[in-house]
Amino acid sequence: MLTIALPKGRLADDALVWLQRAGWSLPATDSGRKLVVASQDGRLNYVLAKPMDVPVFVEQGAADIGIAGRDVVRERAADVFEPMRLPFGHCRLSVAGPAARKDLPLRLDVYPRVATKYPRLTGQYFRDRGISAELIVLSGSVELGPLVNLADLIVDLVQTGDTLQANELVELRTILESQAILIVNRASYRLHTAAIDALLSSMRHTIGK
């Protein structure tokens, strides 16, 4: 039986739809508060984790497979296989700032304060451009940063841009294009090749249709 880690929330709903279309049965019970649930046919074991933690579950081998946004896989620098992209969860990780500074190049900032939930990718992005940024690591409502003068810039996920607009922010740069990807533990793939290939090809077949 393969263990698959899903990110609690929207992504899990989409993931379950696609898994079902590919012929995999869903968690046996309406999971409620249980976080580990076997599928009805007993072929899969579902683990529900916080989105940021899915890559960790898979890298460590607590789950054989996982579905996660590319953004969190990169943020966690998870050493896993990424055999396929999935057709949902599209978004981008962007640098945003107050509308007033729209045309000011980032390189002219001296020691900008950047609020983010993605310290690794954000740090890397600014370091690569020779800008020493002060990272302000938050666990939510990052777009609040500039409003309350906690930060000069933010780095956050953008889907439609509505949230940014509502908070009078504009997108300045794209760090990473993201979407849901299916990830596989490197050891599991070697130890359960046939089972994992079966899941991959059923998903590929369904998505290709």
């Binding site: 898979v58 081998g61 050493d79 896993v80 990424e82 396929m84 992209r85 596989v184 130890l191 090749t193």
Partner: protein
């Protein structure tokens, strides 16, 4: 360690910190490490590999020169008193290559080496990685053929069996195939790095996007994407498909080498432990031919890494083909612990109580000579944790107590016989 039965409060002083990435070993964990090392040493000896003991630190240039540029970023460096930069060894392959190349260059070939010891890398602590980690390994220097490759592969399988790992799988690749493909595609170094990263993640989509971005012609695109499908058991048609996909001699040679190895692995009867993965393009910079890794359940990172490195010894002496592998013993022991539970703590077979006539000394020495682990009951250890305890009665006799049995009284002259009996019960 099991919890002590002694009711001693923890010391009131703050315990000293230890650096990240190192660990203390004692009790069962320490014993398991040493036992693993000796199991491998014994096996290696049977395959005619002799032990080599390189220094723990060397000049940084030696370890991080051309020989190991990839490891340079992870070296622990420090200054010698004359100002030269030293480094702790990041693996034992490079020091072994140095010794073979610069000191043993005129000795009979091939040379077979076994080593075990700590290596040091400043890396992120994840997936069972430590900064000081225990490696054992074998290197076969001066033999370039499929027989040498197969020997090291078969030895690696037997080694994991000897260590008692219930389930593991080897993945076998050949960098020659990938390098041949790169030559065929004529990519720039920066492009190669991106292709390599995408292949390493086994991301079909990323490889497809890259192929489009690099404007590879359709047949080349197909070849590059086809590489990702060249995965399967030794019995499957993977190598046959690889043969069809080969675009030049270098790629052909790689497949032929893998076929020859596969045949030999059948003869060793270890082929079931292997799968072929020609898209496995990760490895030490110094690898030139086959590369292989072993995996086991509940351990996300590989537990054995190995490959052929025909250009490494040449950095230190005359060029010599070479193949070898390293066992990550920390990860193997960790996997074992997760799969089979913690190793039992070593404990004495026998406690002997000191007595006024001091006859206990002779009794203890006799039981040690016979191979029983014998401890004097000098402190408050609970004798119930031992299989047996012995009390001299200071009148020419002694009493042996064993859990679940009535006390046995005997004359001290009989002790050697009783010891022999205890020994045979224990073994």
């Amino acid at each position: 360690m099991t919890h002590s039965s002694l009711q001693i409060p923890p010391p009131s002083i703050t315990p000293p910190a230890i650096p990240r990435g190192v660990a203390d070993f004692f009790g069962g964990a320490a014993q398991a490490r040493r036992q693993a090392e000796s199991a491998l040493r014994q096996l290696a000896r049977l395959w005619a590999y002799t032990e080599i003991i390189p220094p723990t630190f060397e000049y940084a240039d030696t370890l991080a020169g051309e020989a190991g540029s990839q490891l340079a970023a992870e070296l622990y460096r420090f200054l010698d008193r004359d100002g030269r930069t030293l480094a702790l060894r990041p693996d034992l392959t490079i020091p072994t290559a140095r010794i073979a190349g610069s000191k043993l260059y005129d000795q009979a070939l091939p040379q077979r080496f076994f080593y075990t010891g700590s290596a040091f890398r400043y890396e992120e602590l994840r997936g069972g990685r430590q900064r000081e980690f225990l490696q054992a390994g074998v290197e076969l220097i001066g033999a370039g053929g499929a027989d040498a490759d197969a020997e090291v592969l078969a030895l690696a399988v037997q080694a994991l069996q000897a260590l008692g790992l219930p389930k593991f799988r080897f993945s076998l690749g050949h960098l020659g195939y990938f390098h041949g493909l790169l030559a065929h595609l004529a990519l720039a170094p920066a492009e190669i790095a991106r292709v390599q990263a995408a292949l390493d993640r086994k991301s079909h989509d990323e490889v497809a996007d890259l192929a489009a971005e690099l404007r590879l012609p359709p047949p080349e695109r197909q070849t590059l994407l086809g590489l990702l499908d060249l995965i399967g058991s030794l019995e499957s048609d993977t190598l046959a498909r690889a043969q069809k996909l080969a675009r030049n001699q270098k790629m052909q040679d790689a497949v032929q080498r893998l076929q020859a190895i596969s045949q030999r692995l059948h003869h060793y009867a270890v082929h079931h432990a292997f799968m072929v993965d020609l898209a496995d393009v990760r490895g030490m910079d110094y690898y030139t031919g086959i590369t292989f890794k072993a995996y086991t359940s509940q351990m996300g990172s590989s537990i054995v890494n190995g490959g052929r490195y025909d250009n490494l010894v040449g950095h230190f002496g005359p060029p010599r083909p070479a193949v070898g592998c390293a066992f990550y013993l920390d990860r193997i022991l960790l996997a074992q612990r997760r799969q089979l539970g913690p190793p039992p703590d070593p404990r004495p077979d026998l406690f002997i109580h000191p007595c006024a006539c001091a006859q206990y000394v002779a009794l203890a020495q006799q039981s040690r000579a016979a191979g029983l682990i014998t401890a004097l009951a000098l402190g408050p250890e609970s004798p119930s944790t031992a299989a047996a305890s012995l009390r001299c009665t200071c009148d020419g006799g002694a009493i042996l107590e064993r859990p679940g049995q009535p006390p046995q009284r005997f004359a001290v002259g009989e002790w050697p016989h009783i010891v022999a009996e205890l020994k045979s019960l224990g073994s």
